[in-house]
Symmetry: C2
Subunit: 427 residues, 2 copies
């Protein structure tokens, strides 16, 4: 946190320009900071959060009270709440990011050309990262940790409903930066609830190198449409499992059940189950009963409904819907090609899996399904940065350029070319 | 080339939508094509171009005649011309791309997690690439080769002044695809000179995954502003050389002379020379005389002018200018920090070099200068895909995300996660 906005609430544009200038200046210093200094800052932030647990709870109570007065839903109030366990988890998250390998300055692909020039690539920070998010205040600490560790400066814009909590967390972040001798403007929390701040932030390419929106589809689409800065975005997750004709039926049932029911509201949850018609009569009855026992509503194609009277007919819209709820659509397909066609036509290129014991079909599926994560015999729920060994994630990208899938520290960096000569001239 | 536009010139939007749909459908087939089929197509295209040399020259003559009638400058007419040597170079370029390693399907970072899941990344095509370029018709063949080899479908929109040449090249491309059993819509040349085609092409995210504009700064800025599709862009190259206090004076002179004078109109040409004040009196007099002998106009800071009466004072604007001409600006600096400050403040993050024998200074420069290529003791003119061993390039990216610097086959692909389980469920 940096400039107090009090004096300039009349001028959000000037305030955001100042935040941007400060971030750009800090970015150069953070990019050159040693791993030791960055890690010290992260550990100091963690200690500050633990020491300020009572103040964080007080600030959070103000947000919760205001939220209740403003009629926020129970689900939103739950996201907003900083319980003691969540405060401890923020500190633990900061310490965990400190323990990850530092990506900055790694050199790869170094090779000597015919003329003796040594050419390779160095991993470097992106510069200034703008993060726009909604109610959960713990994102403030998580995002700060990932941006700092990857050598970037960050401008964090949380939801207005969490402003008191975010201000309190920002103080802990700032004291950590200060204790490690790093510029306090390296991580700035936007200190105004004026919505114009977002519009300003996404149109300052001179100060912001990339925007990462975290939140609902509406927020992300609006930002993508209006941004004049590159956006790393996470749109919906319409995830599929295809039970192949050569599937092991036990694996098929266990994995498909887990992918739908382990959590309903996450982007990597199964939304549409595709089943080869030759195996459907064997595998579906037991599996569909399991789903029903768990309270999952089932909507199917004609052939699925013919197989099981408890399935209601799916509409065309179902195949294009991310339910984020205990609802599953089911379609029987004639072969692998039809399964891939369905996924390419209706999916969101997030995470899709095949259940099969057939090597050829598994290889075709891996190659031909154009999603950020493609799986064989595993639950789509594994699609996240922690499960992939990234240590942490700032989100799951459904973009094709730059970073695809879970985005960890590497996704917050890029590669520049370095060229070592000895007086080489071009002829 | 695909749909004949004749029947729909009244409706560019419908035509481009059709081109887009065809490209999207072809993209899936090209993504799954074997290296053998893609290489066969490239070799057949090369043979078709050689066999059609006379027809290409005829078509090109129509463009040249129209260009002269329309008052095109000699420089533009030169770019537009397809000499026999340039026709042969197109064929050679296609054969060279065929000889490069195929990036599609390469698997990296494969590792086993604690739970036994095998997780890695597979290199995959981006999908459909739209390329918008100006007069040079040889770009049609070059871009087709790189897109096809990297498993992408392409929509190519050349300059209207080259429409006859591009149509003739498109026929060769199409016959090559056909001979290799690949879909002819994999490479489509937009067959209308209506400018609305560009506006349509950059706003069809459902059919186009990325736009690569090649041309002047005006074209690229306009496309970046209006595109609703990600853009890999190449803005200006304001390249610097910093002659450090610990430079070898012979290397400094040779490299600085080469970087400015080897070619004036290229983006990796030196535009501003920074010289440590303690070495300036030794190194500059001879070097500046060399520049003058080559016809280079010299504009300098006050201290440079004081050192050499033949240098005219630089204005503030000079430090922010890409001359693309025999003009050089020169500034004396007090130390490495001031050199880096100047480059970060006035450069375009393209290519910058230090001349030094000091290890510490070289390492600081490599790390702290935030450009797509950073060099030590080498001419900035080396910054291109061929010199870097990429085999070919589609352009030099000044973006920070996805691809930075020369963009070859790898820059036209991305990495998706692949996950191999054995019935794994998440708990």
């Amino acid at each position: 946190m940096s400039a107090t906005a009090d004096s300039m609430e009349h001028d959000v544009q000037a305030y955001m320009q100042q935040v941007g200038r400060q971030a750009r200046a800090a970015a150069r210093l953070v990019a050159a900071a040693t791993p030791g200094a960055k890690n010290k800052a992260l550990l100091e932030m963690a200690a500050a959060i633990e020491a300020a647990a009572a103040q964080l709870a007080d600030a959070n109570r103000k947000d919760l009270d205001a939220g209740r007065n403003n009629g926020l839903s129970d689900a939103l109030l739950d996201r907003l709440e900083l319980t003691p366990a969540r405060i401890e988890a923020m500190a633990a998250g900061l310490r965990q990011v400190a323990s990850l390998p530092d990506p900055v300055g790694q050199i790869s692909d170094m090779a000597i050309q015919d003329n003796g020039l040594q050419i390779g690539r160095m991993r470097v920070p992106l510069g200034v990262i703008g993060i726009i998010y909604e109610s959960r205040p713990n994102v403030t600490a998580d995002a700060a940790a990932l941006c700092l560790k990857s050598g970037n400066a960050a401008i964090l814009r949380g939801g207005s409903e969490a402003i008191h909590s975010n201000r309190a967390i920002a103080q802990c972040i700032q004291s950590g930066l200060d204790a490690a001798g790093l510029p306090v403007h390296a991580i700035q929390v936007v200190d105004t609830t004026d919505r114009a701040a977002v519009g300003q932030m996404i149109t300052m390419p001179e100060y912001v190198d990339v925007i990462i929106p975290r939140g609902g589809k509406g927020l992300i689409e609006r930002i993508s449409n209006e941004a004049r800065v590159p956006v790393i975005k996470h749109l919906d997750g319409i995830c599929h499992i295809y039970i192949d004709e050569h599937a092991d039926q036990d694996k098929a049932s266990r994995v498909s059940y887990n992918a739908k029911t382990q959590r309903y509201g996450t982007c990597n949850t199964l939304e549409t189950l595709l089943v080869h018609q030759s195996i459907a009569a064997e595998v579906l009855p037991g599996l569909l009963q399991q789903y029903r026992d768990a309270g999952v509503e089932l909507r199917g194609c004609e052939r699925t409904c013919a197989l099981d009277g408890g399935v209601t007919p799916a509409t065309a819209e179902d195949w294009d819907t991310e339910y984020l709820a205990p609802v599953l659509s089911i379609r029987l397909v004639d072969n692998l090609d039809q399964a891939i066609d369905h996924i390419e036509g209706h999916g969101s290129h997030h995470t899709d899996a095949i259940i099969t014991e057939d090597l050829h079909n598994s290889q075709r599926f891996l190659r031909e399904v154009d999603s950020s994560s493609v799986m064989v015999n595993a639950s789509t729920r594994f699609s996240d940065g922690f499960e992939y060994g990234l240590g942490a994630e700032i989100g799951i990208s459904t973009d094709k350029l730059h970073a695809r899938g879970p985005v960890g520290l590497e996704g917050l960096t890029s590669l520049k070319y370095i060229v070592l000569g000895d007086g080489h001239t071009r002829s």
